[in-house]
């Protein structure tokens, strides 16, 4: 097409599918989104673990044996790190969005994040306690 004198040829840059490797902040964003995949895989495995309970003691024991394999342990260590990253980023982002009033003033986002982490610690301890005591 010949360039029209009134309509200069505009250049349209294209975005590569690897855009998230371009800077560390985009990369961390992608890792944050990826946490959901690790969490979902853990939940499916957890669900199978519960299912095995309904299949009798042998089935349950052999499933636990499988989870003991280095591959699964390695996966779950990585998954735990991703899960913790999700928790931290989630508390951090929601604190920026949520407006928590403290009387007439807005509670600083950092304080809201700290409070969320506090609740997270309490809930985790509660789950542990209930699991061991019930």
């Amino acid at each position: 097409m010949a360039p029209h004198p009134d309509k200069p040829q505009v250049y349209h840059p294209k975005m590569a599918p690897t855009w998230w490797l371009k800077n560390p902040r985009y990369f961390l964003f992608m890792m944050r989104e990826l946490t959901s995949v690790f969490i979902a895989i853990f939940l499916v495995v957890f669900l199978i673990q519960i299912f095995k309970l309904s299949q009798g003691p042998e089935a349950y024991a052999s499933f636990l044996e499988k989870l003991r394999s280095p591959g699964w342990i390695a996966f779950h260590v990585v998954a735990l790190l991703f899960a913790l990253y999700h928790s931290f980023t989630w508390f951090d982002l929601t604190s920026k969005v949520q407006i928590v009033q403290l009387g007439k003033r807005r509670m600083p986002p950092r304080l809201v994040t700290a409070a969320s982490i506090g609740v997270w610690v309490i809930l985790s301890l509660a789950v542990l306690l209930l699991f061991f005591l019930l």
């Binding site: 989104e33 979902a40 939940l43 957890f46 309970l53 342990i73 735990l80 508390f91 699991f131």
Partner: protein, 118 residues
């Protein structure tokens, strides 16, 4: 109005609820059931078959586990859908959405069924 026709608010609400549940409760459960239990860090009598059946068979625990397992699946569905868009699957918006949310709904049904078995 167009705002009412889109189901986006529903998916987003489920995503948010799942994100909250995952943030507060998934790390401890992951540590407990997928690391501490298989690695033998918990005394045997506490994770014995009979005790686990009694614990996971309790109706209140079942309701709790249903939400802990099902809701984060929608968190996955929503984020995974946008990961696929981000990686360039823009042309397949409908199939990607059906696959992701469909997977979460399937998982919800699966969770319900498994928890009723115990």
């Amino acid at each position: 109005m167009s705002e009412r026709k889109t189901a986006e608010p529903l998916w987003w609400a489920l995503f948010s609820a799942g994100g909250v549940v995952a943030a507060f409760l998934v790390p401890i459960h992951l540590f407990l059931h997928s690391l501490a239990a298989p690695l033998g860090w918990i005394p045997d009598r506490l994770i014995s078959y009979d005790r686990m059946v009694a614990l996971f068979g309790h109706p209140l625990v079942k309701v709790y586990l249903f939400f802990v397992i099902a809701l984060p699946l929608y968190h996955w569905a929503h984020r995974f859908r946008f990961i696929l868009f981000d990686l360039g699957l823009k042309g397949l918006r409908k199939p990607v959405a059906v696959l992701c949310y469909g997977g979460a709904i399937l998982g919800t049904a699966g969770a319900l069924w498994v928890l009723l078995q115990v």
